[in-house]
Amino acid sequence: MHISVNVDGVTYADEVEPRLLLVHYLRERLGKTGTVVGCDTGNCGACTVHLDGHSVKSCQMFAVQANGHEITTIEGLARDGKLHPVQEAFRTNHALQCGFCTPGMIMQAIDLLADEPDPDDETVRKGLEGNLCRCTGYQNIVRAVQDAAQRMKPGAGPKIEQHSDEHVTAKQPVGGE
């Protein structure tokens, strides 16, 4: 089937088999290997991307379902060589060890902060419920998300760190196409 998808700001037109999972399309066709696969059951969240501004598990949908929609992956977050504030917060708070869960954690953390710009610890933990980490014990991940919330507050830090991209953080209902 023919699809046209905007991924990280670039529109791609492709012919795909209907059974091709979105995550495999991103990794194998577009070479966007920043998004990883950790399970077969939709549990781990490692494959989380944004579909029209909402987090989804890209192993839980087919590429044909993304036709006409906008996808943002972990590879589309940095701007002009500067990490997104959530990426930066993960780095400085040691919120990763092996790093396998990190792309999904960061994409979900951005979704969470769009809904809850100033969350308490419990809200962060609930918001990351769909993302499993086998290494960190989550403590530093929660810390990083809290730190990112501070960095992204209006008026906090240098301007360059407040570049949270509109289409990444804006919440619009996922429209059927």
């Binding site: 089937m1 088999e17 059951t41 549990n43 989804v56 598990k57 769909g130 209902p173 996922v174």
Partner: protein
């Protein structure tokens, strides 16, 4: 794993979707949010010949006010249910239950109707649908028909839907001003219920005027705790502890859970 091959169809109306189901035969399947179906396909527990994607049917999304009841479109996502004002005001129990379903990513795509059609006995939305007397509005080759929740859930993963039928809307009577609570027991994050209890109560001047209680994952489908409901009517709030003992699942461990969780759910519903 990679799913087996299938054709993929995008109907643009409900009637076209029904026609496609009939044309494709028994091995075709509806795909809604895909949050239960995609893992099943990836693990090759099913190999449908065609998937009919109803995600583009805007007529199936959203919640409408219909006088004494709400009409919830089958394709309304969990995320939308959580934030809908009509549901908040007239069917608070559904919001509270949906808050506990899966995780944020799954709730962005998973649908209200899909959960009911999938009919996993541990699925959280079955018990409240049953307890709140929801009615399923179904489209098929012969037109539309309505099936009450009590007849819709037939067995494990089995509903009253025929292979060529689609759930389009769910009618839920209004429970304006009722207190509600969902008491879900699970041991880890993002997990299904071991047992859960959905409770809604109408209290006036300290007296319980009406109660609805549904149990999740105590059998092959949702169970309505009618004995508990009737033991509460006309009673003071203090009657909850006694009434909750009438909850039952027919299995020792879950029997006890059902009673304890029913007591907790009702107490919280009355308070909130």
């Amino acid at each position: 794993m990679i799913p087996a091959e299938f054709r993929y169809l995008f109907p643009s109306t409900v009637d076209e979707a029904v026609r496609m189901l009939a044309d494709e035969g028994e091995d075709a399947k509806i795909i809604a949010g895909g949050q239960s179906l995609v893992p099943v396909l990836r693990m090759r527990l099913a190999a449908p010949t065609a998937l009919i994607d109803i995600g583009g049917l805007t007529e199936l999304t959203g919640v409408r006010d219909d006088g004494d009841s709400l009409l919830i479109g089958a394709m309304t996502t969990h995320y939308e249910v959580q934030r809908d004002h009509l549901i908040h005001d007239h069917a608070l129990l559904l919001k509270l239950v949906t808050d506990t379903v899966a995780d944020p990513q799954v709730r962005h795509r998973g649908t209200f109707g899909g959960s009911l059609c999938h009919a996993d006995p541990a699925g959280d939305l079955l018990a409240p649908a049953l307890a709140l007397d929801a009615v399923m509005i179904i489209a098929g080759p012969g037109g539309r028909r309505e099936v009450p929740a009590a007849e819709f859930f037939v067995d494990y993963f089995t509903t009253a839907l025929a292979p060529d039928e689609i759930l389009i809307d769910v009618r839920v009577p209004k429970y304006t001003g009722w207190g509600a609570h969902y008491e879900k027991l699970n041991r880890v994050a993002q997990a299904w219920s071991i047992v859960a209890v959905a409770a809604a109560v109408q209290v006036r001047g300290g007296t319980i005027e009406a109660a609805r209680v549904g149990l999740t994952n105590v059998g092959s489908g949702p169970v309505r705790a009618v004995d508990v409901e009737s033991a509460l009517v006309g009673q003071p709030v203090s009657a909850i502890a006694e009434a909750a003992l009438r909850a039952s699942s027919g299995d020792g461990y879950k029997d006890n859970l059902a009673r304890v969780l029913t007591g907790r759910a009702l107490t919280a519903a009355v308070a909130g």
